[in-house]
Amino acid sequence: MAESGQGAATALAKDERVKEISGLRKALIRPELGAIVGTIAVFVFFVAFAGDSGMFNAQGVLNWSIVSAQFMIIAVGACMLMIAGEFDLSVGSMIGFAGMSIAIISVTLQWPVWIAILLTLALCVAIGALNGFIVVRTGLPSFIVTLAFLFILRGFTIFFPQLIERQTIIGGIDDAAEGDWLAPVFGGKIGGWIFDWLAEMEMIAVFERGTREGEPIVNGIPMLIVWALVLVAVAHVVLTRTQFGNWVFASGGDAQAARYVGVPVNRVKILMFMFTAFCAFVFATCQVMEFGSAGADRGLLKEFEAIIAVVIGGALLTGGYGSVIGAALGALIFGVVQQGLFFAGVESSLFRVFLGVILLFAVILNTYIRRIITGER
């Protein structure tokens, strides 16, 4: 007993060999660090090298904002799922599948577009749940299970339109969506009056001739961007401020430890697979409404782009750590670089080179940050 009494006395004494972590260093240990630095660097770079190319006038900003928003929508889902400890490689195929589903129901079957959208929503979320169910039930890596769905969904996406319409692109969705109440939620624009006002104040350009003479070149914020911002905000709040968010971190951090204390890990994971599928559905629906058509090759490679954005955002591939804001910044970096290279007149295939390089850097940085946090060597 003497031994333990002595222990109590020394328990309060500070261990002099543990270095105090400086405030600056502590502020730096956050998942978004790399993405924040990257975002600033990317903007500085393109302002310097493409500043006068029209990239930063109203139309240019809208241009890369739309591309960024697309990345953002799927990155949010991938981010939550990755923090919960799983992957979904079927996102890209799900995008093609959802678009085709809307097209077949609304154009081929001639059903109202809102029914097509809602049925597709139900279908996507159900497939997401199936993905999740198989993963938690079999204990197989989600990499394998969702890889299977990558092929299954893409196969159906090519097969059905060929069977029914003898082609792999179905158009005419824009005509079908005319007057529909739900379609504008994905394909519409809001805030037109702001741009009218800005044009009046001569702060943005207007069309000089043609049928739309005098109208502002940018006439509203596409719903795609609204979806992206709302999804990012909601997911961020849920993840960082709610009980469910704590369960997401716990499920990905150590599923067994979480189960021991009563966290419903399986439910959390399945819900995150459903959310990822929902994000793919939103992406697809916005795209279909914008193009007025669905193609069997839509969404190709999107799963990897989403995962890269999430990793740039500071999430660990092993789960349990990451940030929605970081993932959103990762998506912004993507959009700005992809469109910036176009504005700067650089060969667009170099964008892929950029992706690969930045992915490597991000993973190395994340591993380093992880070591600082966990004190591993």
Binding site: M1, E3, S4, G5, Q6, G7, A8, T10, A11, L12, D15, I21, V238, R241, T242, Q243, F244, G245, N246, W247, F249, A250, G253, D254, Q256, A257, A258, R259, Y260, V261, G262, V263, L316, G320, Y321, R370, I373, T374, G375, E376
Partner: protein, 263 residues
């Protein structure tokens, strides 16, 4: 000590557990009373972890019965056992290194404020309580946002113990809390065990180190190859006898002789 005038909180009678062909436990009886520290000793693979997992609802025993406060109990999950008041700090700790101390402390039982359908975590309360409870155990956290990974092994054990105590455990099961620790951290954890016992919580302390057991134990039960070799009270058994029982008797005596009695 104080525990002996009370009835047991948990009583395990003739517990057996088979994993397919493996007989991990073969008829083990054990009980723990309020305010006592009952040590469960045994060599690696003796079945200690398996035994406490049947007590905490992780495994269903193949045979035998579990009485909780005198009533027969059938825990379906760790959650059931936890709700009844059996808290377990598992050998692998069940702490998540990447998450903050607060998030770990409240994991699975987060304090919430409902706004509409959303259950927000009450971080002000969660952080404050975490700091207070850790201070009671003798640890001053730098910040409740600190990741558990930055804590020392002893401090992590203390977070897990503080969590169990705060959530009203009647029985606290500690699976080898000192096996990976250095001398000073071990002393701290043993001091914490002593502190918790004095609040009237019954403690099941698993170890394969006789000295650690003797430092805080009131009673000692030794497991060997899935069976008990009986329970002894403090003062009725010498360290050498305990060591021998753990090793299953003869071999250890011979070995110890050849090493000059240093094991």
């Amino acid at each position: 000590m104080s525990g002996f005038d009370h009835d047991p909180i948990v009583e395990m009678k003739d517990i057996a557990k088979h994993f397919g062909p493996v007989i991990a436990l073969n008829g083990v009886s054990f009980d723990v009373r309020p305010g006592e520290c009952h040590c469960l000793l045994g060599d690696n693979g003796a079945g200690k972890s398996t035994f406490i997992k049947t007590m905490s609802g992780v495994h269903k025993p193949t045979r035998g019965e579990i009485l909780f406060e005198g009533c027969q109990m059938n825990f379906d999950s760790p959650r059931d056992a936890m709700e009844a008041g059996i808290a377990t700090v598992y050998q692998d700790l069940a702490m998540i290194p990447l998450m903050s101390v607060t998030r770990n402390f409240w994991m699975g039982r987060e304090p919430v404020r409902k706004i509409g359908p959303m259950k927000f975590m009450d971080f002000a309360k969660a952080n404050q309580t975490t700091m207070d409870e850790m201070r009671k155990m003798g640890i001053n956290l730098r910040s409740p946002d600190q990741a558990v990974g930055t804590l020392s092994g002893g401090e992590r054990q203390t977070v897990a113990i503080a969590r169990a105590v705060y959530f009203g455990a009647k029985v606290l099961i500690l699976d080898e809390p000192t096996s990976a620790l250095g001398v000073r951290q071990t002393a701290n954890v043993l001091a914490t065990i002593d502190k918790v016992r004095k609040t009237g919580i019954g403690i099941v302390f698993i170890t394969h180190n006789v000295r650690h057991a003797l430092a805080v134990g009131d009673r000692f039960t030794v497991l060997n190859r899935g069976k008990t070799l009986g329970t002894a009270q403090r003062g009725q058994i010498t360290p050498e006898e305990l060591q021998d029982m753990m090793a299953g008797g003869q071999e250890m005596v011979a070995l110890e002789g050849s090493l000059g009695g240093t094991v």
